[in-house]
Symmetry: D3
Amino acid sequence: MFTLTVRDHIMIAHSLPDPFFGPAQNLHGATFTVETTWARPVLDEHGVVLDIGVASQLLSGVLDGLRYRNLDDHPDFTGRLSTTEVLAQYIAERLAAGAAGIAGLDRLTVTLRENPDAWASYTLELPVLTERGGPTSR
Amino acid sequence: MFTLTVRDHIMIAHSLPDPFFGPAQNLHGATFTVETTWARPVLDEHGVVLDIGVASQLLSGVLDGLRYRNLDDHPDFTGRLSTTEVLAQYIAERLAAGAAGIAGLDRLTVTLRENPDAWASYTLELPVLTERGGPTSR
Amino acid sequence: MFTLTVRDHIMIAHSLPDPFFGPAQNLHGATFTVETTWARPVLDEHGVVLDIGVASQLLSGVLDGLRYRNLDDHPDFTGRLSTTEVLAQYIAERLAAGAAGIAGLDRLTVTLRENPDAWASYTLELPVLTERGGPTSR
Amino acid sequence: MFTLTVRDHIMIAHSLPDPFFGPAQNLHGATFTVETTWARPVLDEHGVVLDIGVASQLLSGVLDGLRYRNLDDHPDFTGRLSTTEVLAQYIAERLAAGAAGIAGLDRLTVTLRENPDAWASYTLELPVLTERGGPTSR
Amino acid sequence: MFTLTVRDHIMIAHSLPDPFFGPAQNLHGATFTVETTWARPVLDEHGVVLDIGVASQLLSGVLDGLRYRNLDDHPDFTGRLSTTEVLAQYIAERLAAGAAGIAGLDRLTVTLRENPDAWASYTLELPVLTERGGPTSR
Amino acid sequence: MFTLTVRDHIMIAHSLPDPFFGPAQNLHGATFTVETTWARPVLDEHGVVLDIGVASQLLSGVLDGLRYRNLDDHPDFTGRLSTTEVLAQYIAERLAAGAAGIAGLDRLTVTLRENPDAWASYTLELPVLTERGGPTSR
C-alpha cells in the first residue's frame, strides 16, 4: 500500500456548548494543522498516489470554506458540535467528494492537530473506481 | 474510524543488562514522549472519541507510577527488560484497564519516542462494550 | 550567558478589526504555543537559571487569564489589536512582574507560534536585582 | 502488534521528466528524511522488535547507495520516475531483502518526508519466517 | 525588541566542487526550509513587526528564483560555492533589498534548515529608515 | 553574522540530590538533544562557518564521554549538580577547547532539549584567532 500526505492549516473560532467540555464551552479558537493522507494499492501511470499539486488544491479548496471563520456561525455546523473529530470527518467527506473522479484511491485519513499534545483523525474508505471511472463493489 | 491522541512524557533511568544491548547495558536514561491513540468506529454522544481531559488523566495516572524513577528498581520490571517496546505494552495494558468501563473504544496504540531518530509502539485491540457496558464477542 | 525555556499553549478566539489584516478581520482563533526563555549570566546556587517548576507556574499563571477566551471580550485588550506581537509583549510583561523578586535574571524572550509557518517574539530586559533584591542600574 | 521505527536522511538530486510534474521536470533536489517502521506481533527473546542498531545499519546500508547522488544518473532509476512513492518502495524492498533472515517480522513501512508539507509511504507485508528461518504461508 | 518569523521552503540541486566537501562534491540536492526573522524595536501602527502576508510575499518572491533549480546552472552562483551559509546570505540580501522602503525594521535573520541535524543562518543589520523613509545613521 | 548548527543526542541517567529539585532528586534519566551553534562574522575560504563534518565530529567527540552513562558516577560531575544548564556549559567548554585551533569563530551556543516543553542553553564567547592562529584581544 502506498500513501501520500499533504498538509495545510486553518485558524478558526468556535465554542463547544455542552457542560461536558468544561472551559471549552467558551468561545475560543484553534490553529488546526490538517494532514490528509491518500492511500492506493498501486501507483498511477506517473508513479504517484496523486499529484501533490492536485492533493494540495483539493485540500485548500475544502479549507477555504473554513479559514478565518467562527464555526458557531458557519451553516454547516448549525446545531452540531464542531469537535476536532467532527471537523476531521467533515473535511474528509468533502475531500472524498472532490476526489470522486480519480481512479485507484482506496482510503483517506484526515488528521487535525489542535495543539502540541492533542490531535484527532478520521479514516474513510473510498469507493473503488475502475480506470473507466465507475464504482465497483469490493 | 476515528482516533484521538494525547501526549505526555516521562524521564526515567534504566539499564538493559543483556550483552545484546551493547552500551545500553549501562545504567542510563531516557525522556520518553508518550502518545496514546484511542480509536472507535462511531463517535460518542458528545461527538468525540473520548474527552481530551479524560484521556490526559488516564495517561497521567499511568505515567505517574513511572515519572522520575529508576526502572531497574521498579517492582513491575523485576526480572524484565524495560525496552521501549515492553514499556509501550506496559503503558497500553494499564491504560486499557483504566478505560475498561468506557463503551465504544476499539483499539489503543501507545507510541514511545526515545530520541529524534527512534521510537516504538504497541497496539492493543480493546474489548467491545455495548452501551450497557458488557463485553461482546466480535 | 545561560537560558532556560519552558513551553505551554493557549487556544483563544479574537479578531483584528482593521482592513490592514484582510480576512483576519473576521472573528477567528488560534492555538498559540508559548515559549518563555529566561536568561542570566551566572547560574543560581542550585545550578539553574530558574527552577523549571517555578518557570512553568509563572507561565501557567499568566496564561490562565487567557485560556479558552475570546480576546475581543477581554478587558486587557479593549481598544487594542491583539496581534501575536502584542500578545507576546503582554505575556512577557506579566511574567516579568511575576518574577520581580527573583534575583539574577537578565532578559526574557516570549515566542508565540501561531501556525507551522509563522511566529513572533518579544524580548524584555529585566531589571537587575542584587541578592538582597534591590534593583541596580547597569 | 509492536512496531519499531528508526530514522535517517538522504540528500539527492533528480528530475521528474514528464509534463505532469510541472516545474519538478527541472533538475532539482530534496532532503528526504526516511522513517522505517518494522512490525511484529510478538517480541523477540530480547524484548524488542529488532535491535535499534541493526535497524539503523540496515537502513544506512540501503541509503548509502543513494546519498549525495543524482538519481537521474543512478542505474536503478534508468527509465523510471524517481517519485517519492517509487523511492519509498525501492528502499522498502531493499530493506526487506536485507532483513530476509530475521524471523518474526511481519510488515515494513517506509515513509519519506520531502518537505514540511508533503510526505509519502510504502507498506510491504514481509514473508513470515519460523524460528528455523523458512518462510511459511499464512 | 520584537520579531516576526515566516517560513517557506525550496527544493534545489547543486554540487560543492571542492575536495573540502567530500561526497557533497557530487551533484546532489536539498530541501531547505527557510525561516526569515524580521526584528524591530517598536511595533508599527497596526501593532505588528510586518504584515505576515507581506513577509510571506517578500520571501516567496525571493525563493521563486530558486525553486526547482539546479544552482550549478544559476547565474547568481556562477563561480561561487552555494553552501547553506552563502544561500542564507543571498536570500537575506535580496529580502533586505525588497524591504528597503519599509520603515522601522532593524535586523533580519535568515535560517536554512537542510536536514533534521544541520542548519545555518545569516543575520543582517538593516538601515534604519525614519517614517519619511530616508536612512539615518545610528 | 553567520551561524552553523549541528545536532546530536545522548541518553543519560542522573539525580539532582537537593530538596530544591523535588522528584528529580530521585535517580532518573533524560534524552538530551544537543544543538551546537557556531558563529563567525565572516565565512572561511570554503564559504562555511565550519565544515558540517568537523562540527559533527567535535560534538560526537564530546558526547561520547557522556553516552549511556550515569552522571552520578561520572568523575567530571563529582560533587556537582548535573542540571541541564551545567551540562550545556560543560559541553560548550569542551567543544570550545576542541575548536581552539580553528580561526575565525566567534561564539558558541549549546542548547540541550530535555523534553518537548523544556530546554536550556549556554553561550560562550570564543577567543578570536588571527589566521596565523594566535588569540587577539577585542
